[in-house]
Symmetry: C2
Subunit: 183 residues, 2 copies
Amino acid sequence: MSLDQLSQEEQSTVLRVRKRVIEAIGRNMDLYGVTLSTGHLYGLLFFADKPMTLDEMGREMSMSKTSMSTSMRTLLDLNMVNKVWEKGSRKDLYEVEYDWYQTFTDYFAIEWRKAVETNIQIIRRSIEEISRMMREIPEDTAIRGVLEVDKRKMEGAVRYYSWLNRLIDCLENGDIYQLVPKE
Amino acid sequence: MSLDQLSQEEQSTVLRVRKRVIEAIGRNMDLYGVTLSTGHLYGLLFFADKPMTLDEMGREMSMSKTSMSTSMRTLLDLNMVNKVWEKGSRKDLYEVEYDWYQTFTDYFAIEWRKAVETNIQIIRRSIEEISRMMREIPEDTAIRGVLEVDKRKMEGAVRYYSWLNRLIDCLENGDIYQLVPKE
DNA sequence: TGGTATGTACAGAAAAAACTGTACAAAGTA
DNA sequence: TACTTTGTACAGTTTTTTCTGTACATACCA
């Protein structure tokens, strides 16, 4: 059901309400590391009654096509919007992922998982290196103590990262809903 | 145990290993919305053997004191570092919060909670407004359909936010460790 | 109380990021 | 095949953010 079937006054009423919500959603999308204007684009798409093309968005947003294109790329990479295929149309169509639980999960599965994996690898390698050094150093020397402390700190970090990994697993496989049901 | 008890060579070895880890930690701190250089400062503090003052950090970091001051403020606000009081010293002392589980929880309790609360309030108010409008509009009109759809979308959002709120509760009260034990 | 050390506010400079317009590549259509 | 249409790469511009240095407020000390 499209907006242009409505009277001028009705349209502006609906748009005013939407705008406030779009603003609110967009403003907090920096938690996902996306730009305010990308957030607005997302909000626009959230209220769209059907998948939209870049041109349609441009009509409502006063943004360059290039900007919109890169914004959509960002949102696609985060699985926050989906590309929809419609035969007969050459244009790309976008629609928001309305399953926000999934969106939340994907964000962690994508961004946080990536960070965790890199860090865990770097730290493990560093622990290895330190252990190797320690084997070649006599006991009760100053450097041994320093290495010991550093190593312990890094081991703590690895333990935390492994927990975070398991937490993300629980998001992905849905176990989290046992503890925190959708309602 | 301080580094300057060690030989030049030993020091450089330790510093090389640390630097790689600091780099890794700092690079991914953008997930918490903090700057790369703030991340480096955090990393420096992570390996420090005792709470540090701004001047001590300045000696190792080549950053202006102002920058460091604001960085520390940011990290304090996120509960990622703590201010330590040591009598006899006029200087502020900072040390990292080594409980990273707590750090993770606090981040959500602070940043995400804030976003959720604002959005939930704005959306609830908008739902109210729409409901009020609908009561004054005859059935089976075009605008009613539009309002209906918008309302349903917003109700979905509220449901998600309430879930997120409960998830953050579970982080704060520790219930999360039933599902994902620290090990 | 005056003197000194310490952290931060503020304004301006530097750096980074976001945005735009053009030019082009890719893919569909006749 | 030539002709469109559509999305994106890229370089340059604008905007935003981060960083710095100075000036100042605060708190401690003698």
